[in-house]
Amino acid sequence: MTRQLDHETCSTLLKPYVEGALDEASAEAVARHLGGCDRCRSEHDAVGALLALEVGALTTDERARLRDRVRAASARPADVVPLPTRSRARALLGAAAAVLVLAAGGLYLGGATGGGGAGSAGGGALESPRQRFERARAPAETDTGGKSSLSRGPAPRFDRVARLGDDSLERLGSTAPPLTAFARAYRAADVPALKDRLLTDLERAAPARAGEQIRRCAGAVLDRYTALPAYAAVGRLGERRVLVTGFAWTDGGTRLRRFQMWAWPRGSCASPVAYEAGRIAP
C-alpha cells in the first residue's frame, strides 16, 4: 500500500508514530512523508523531545507534602482570623464578647433545661431566652454530617448556663467580631474535613493546659454536632476563669450561618457556664 500523506494527516499521526502505535502501513507512509518534508520532520522532532520527558510519579513524601500544602492553603486563606496565641487570648476573648453582644442582640439568661417551645426561627424580639436557647442548641437544623451523633459521647449539660454579665463583657473589651471574617474566609470550605484540623490548630496555638481542655470540651461539642471550631480563648468571666470555645455552623451546605459560643470553667468540660448563639452576618 502506497499512501501519500498530506501535512495535516501526517501531523495527526506523529504522536502514535513516535510511540510505535501505528500499523505498519501507516508507519511506512509517515516515514516516507517525513523523508521529504522538513515541516513535518520539525514537528516529529518536537514530539520526540516531548515524549522523552517521561519522569516518575509522586513519591510518598511529595504526595504528603502536596496534600498538606493544598489542605493548608484551601483551609486557611489569607484573610482568616488568626488563631489565638497567648498574647492574643485576651483580645480574642474580647472579640468573642463583642460577637455575643453584637450578633445575638441579647444574651441568654438562666437555666434552660425546660421543654423549649415554638420559638420563632428568626430569633426576633418576641422570642424568649428559653426559646432562643432551645433553638440554638437543637442540632437538627444544622447537623449536616448525617451521622446519628446524639447518642455518642457524654453530652455537655446545660443546667448551669448563666448569663454573660454586662460587667464581664465590658471588662473583656471589644473588637471586631471575628466570626464574620471567619465565615467569609471559610464560605466555600469543606466543613467536615476542616473540623479536626482546625481543632488541632486551636489546640496547638493555646497554652498547654488550655489546649488539652480545648480538645476535650470542643471535641465533645463536635462529637455531637457538625460545626467548625472557630476559635478558643481563655480569660475571666466575672470572677471565674473560663475557656471560651467558638463554633461556626453551616446551613446544610458550605455556608456558615450561625455561631455558638461556649464558656467552660477552666479545667472542666462537664457543663458550660455560659452560652450564646446567633446568626453570622453575611
Binding site: 516531548l50 520527558l53 509522586l58 500544602r69 493544598v70 466555600a188
Partner: protein, 191 residues
Amino acid sequence: LGRDGATDGELVAELRGGRPGAFDELMRRHEDRIFALTLRITGNREDALEATQETFLTLWRKVETFEGRSEVGTWLYRVGINAARDVLRRKMRRPVPIDHSLAEEVTRERAPDPAGAVVARVDVGRALASLPAEYAEAVALHDLGDLTYEDIAAIADVALGTVKSRISRGRRLLAARLERTAPAPASKEPR
C-alpha cells in the same frame, strides 16, 4: 464515606454542595497525572509540586466555573498546564535549579551525559512554556496529556481545524526554539 463509586462529575457536584471528602477524592484520583504533566513541563520536582498545588487550589476556588464541557480530568489538565507555565514564568529570571533526583534518573536510564540531559530536559519544558499560550496548551494537552483533538477542541471551545493547526504550529515553534538553544557540538567545552 466510600466515594470510590462516584464519577468525577458527581464529585464536582458534591464539592459544590459542600459534601465531605469530594475534594480529597478528586485530588486522590488526579494528583499523579497532574504532577507527571507539570513535571514534564517544568523539569523540576519542586516546581511541579507547586504547579500541582495551584491546580488543585484552582479546583477548590473555582469549581463553580467548571462548565462540564469536558471531563474533570481534562479540565484539570488544562489548569495544570497553565499553572506549570505560570511557575516557569515566575522563575524565568532565576537560574535553573538542577533537580538532583532527576539527574540521577537521567544518568541511570537515559543519557550518557546526565548534566546535558537535565539541561535539555529543562529546555524542552521551558521552550514549551514559552510558546504562545494557545499553542503550548494544545501541544501539551495532546502530546503530553494524551487528549484527542476533539477533546481539546471541546475544552478550548474552538473548531477541530483550529486545534490541528495550533498543534502543528506549536510543535514547529517548539522545534525551532529547541534547535536554537541546543549547544553546537563544536562549542562543547573541554573537560
